[in-house]
Symmetry: D2
Subunit: 244 residues, 4 copies
């Protein structure tokens, strides 16, 4: 099979690791897999190591206008805006995404008032995915939350748009930890390899499909029209039948 | 704006209410809204009231072959297979989807070994959404789980593919309960109305887009090829940098 | 150390496996560990294999009074009522508890209108725990939901009141599956062994503590008094400070 | 009824609001209710407004020893250590707890290697609760995660140990927002008032019970003994019965 080329697409891979050093991040290594597959197909891949930036708490576009001294978010936003594909990568702590990941989601949410030229949410036309690593538990739980957030904001979620690695339950090594007499941890896991591959390609296929179609039609989701009271065919249902 | 026509699409709306009488189901009434919008656009809408069927516990396609006396699932499956759009509707109990809803998801999962003609999961080419009602809390939590399940099985999740109604926290009336001097409960809630409208149209738009494109390309997600060891460009990353 | 004796306590271990044959349930085997520890301390242990019973859908105490032909729940309820310790055991499917488990929780919720002699919820004085097995992911996610439900109903949750087993991410063997040249799957996992041990003892210690104390004092949680408008010291706070 | 006195107990109420100004926090106002009830019973109540402190990302006790320039956590830790009762309060964004709340949980987790004098987790002997406010959805979802974290670390979760306020689904006012012709938002909600009352008293009752008992017995949960291989009665179960 010939691999498709997607030279005109852009992907933003956000690593929400707690590690200040990107090269020490286990999640970052699984994001490398996605990066390699997408770059190989011609996609422009942008990598963002969130904890290295001073992203202020809050749900406004620029928190410097709301009493916080510094905020890197406004300077990061154009990188989100430019991306056709947004992947959130996070480690697991107590079975949940990192605080850095929630901070990023809060600030994505802070931009949800913006509209594109067609009057749709600014996130329409983008596709979203999730990459999660831990040593024991929580990939599905965290994918539920991350993918929900991205679709709620307006992105399309392709089929099987998450991947991750977990070891057997309990403390243990993490993804990509080096081993003396074997490949690094997780590299021999077919499930992780396949899901990372499927996810990467489905994100590219779906972003391309959306691009080619010029995004989704605006009928039913045009926020200006909805704001003006347009119903787009809505009618109230009948009430619940009495139980008396 | 002229409403698009989607006459060749089929939608399956599954109501996972605990009520044996469909007309007494609050969730069913919000599904009516989706039904009305889709039917109005020409979509063939199939309604399934799950609790009225004897769906056996288990994760095999036909539990009668695994020691259970009766199982309606095999006779229901063709209705899922025929659908371009699958919407799961559920009430909330203790903040979670109903047992009937989990039973349906278990049996959808039971079919995940099936492939389409292109070697992809049988659910590829379909789109999924969620409709949730309760009287106090849990639409987002439950959407996370339902939409995750549908995308994990192979469906595309369009933007804003969930809707629901909740009253102020605490016991109270449910969606579509009749009131003496006012419209039935929830009918005046703009948020619910808009989200039901956006969801319905985005499901149709995205299903149409997928249909027109002939589904997603198979590169990267062809399960026969993956099973034969095809890597689709995958390469292992470098290991995590030492911390010594 | 001498092991404490808890001869006057009763525990109900509910297995929410989808397997009709209890001896084929992986979750049942981890419940065996809890059973062994509790029985060894003198606790009367009652085992309930939920899927073997015809538990009707619904949230009323007896669904036969609400149009459903058969319902085993009323005959099972005295076993819940008799228990000082309630443990829910469930397998994982798509990262969630089984439909059988949700059915049991719905029916526990159906009894939440009952009060004990002190006017507290009928579940006051009981302690709850969770036992979860799967082959790849979801112990923490499911524990969150199960333990939340039990505490919401009125049980105390002791420290570290959950345990489980998961293998490395991806398809694979399940807990207690026999192996040719090794102990059955998971039996060599120290984390699972320890957590099952800690959970079992903490459930017993806490149930004993509650029993010795005669349950929790009723001040603040007496539902009859709350219903009569007793405030128990409540006062409204000041409003949020203006932002103008 | 005479209210019990709990003069020797200490409670730490952590507000994980994103608002730099505590008096503008809606969650803070519901924490005021808890503060009033506990203070009224003689409990020493300590209030912590987390976002006002520079709590470093990471899962080590002092991140200044791991390459981060500043970290207030070590100076905050004695306040956690002194508390018999720990309440996490959080707002909801996209149905989840705030990034500030996850940061606090990460740092609580960072201390989980510490043991008390009896060899138990340092959190044994404490009780935990959750206070959550939003304008539409997510109290139960977030309670699941917060209470799970606290019990996993070693705290006891009393019955009904969470409370919150939510308005009808959709954008709207938040708890304690002033209104012109009525009490502030949510103050007339009986469900919120009762649950805040029940939670506050049950936290006090349970903390007192644990204090009087000298904490939980160490049999089964003594981490030094577990580390030395003590089994506390554990025995492996039989394997799953063959299905051949």
């Amino acid at each position: 099979m010939d691999a498709p080329r997607y030279d005109s697409l852009t992907a933003l891979l956000v690593n929400c690791s707690l590690s200040p050093q990107e090269e020490q991040s286990h999640t970052g290594r699984l994001l490398d897999v996605v990066d390699h597959l997408m770059s190989g197909a011609g996609v422009s891949v942008d990598r963002l190591h969130a904890v290295s930036h001073d992203i202020a708490p809050g749900v406004q576009p620029d928190m410097r206008e709301h009493g916080i001294a510094t905020d890197d978010w406004p300077s990061l936003w154009p990188r989100v805006e430019a991306a056709d594909i947004v992947v959130l990568g996070t480690p697991l702590w107590l079975g949940e995404e990192s605080s850095v990941c929630r901070r990023v989601i809060e600030r994505l949410y802070a931009m949800s008032g913006l509209l594109n030229d067609a009057g749709q949410s600014i996130y329409y036309g983008k596709v979203g995915g999730a990459v999660i690593t831990g040593n024991e538990d929580g990939v599905k739980h965290t994918s539920m939350s991350l993918l929900f957030s991205l679709q709620h904001l307006g992105m399309v979620i392709p089929p099987q748009a998450d991947c991750g690695w977990l070891g057997e339950i309990g403390p243990g090594p993490s993804y990509a930890d080096p081993r003396e007499d074997a490949d690094p941890v997780g590299f021999d896991n077919d499930f992780t390899r396949r899901n990372a591959t499927i996810m990467s390609w489905n994100l590219m296929h779906t972003a391309h499909l959306l691009r080619e179609a010029g995004g989704l039609p605006t009928y039913g989701n045009d926020r200006n029209a909805l704001g003006d009271g347009e119903l787009f065919g809505y009618a109230a249902p009948r009430p619940v039948a009495g139980q008396g």
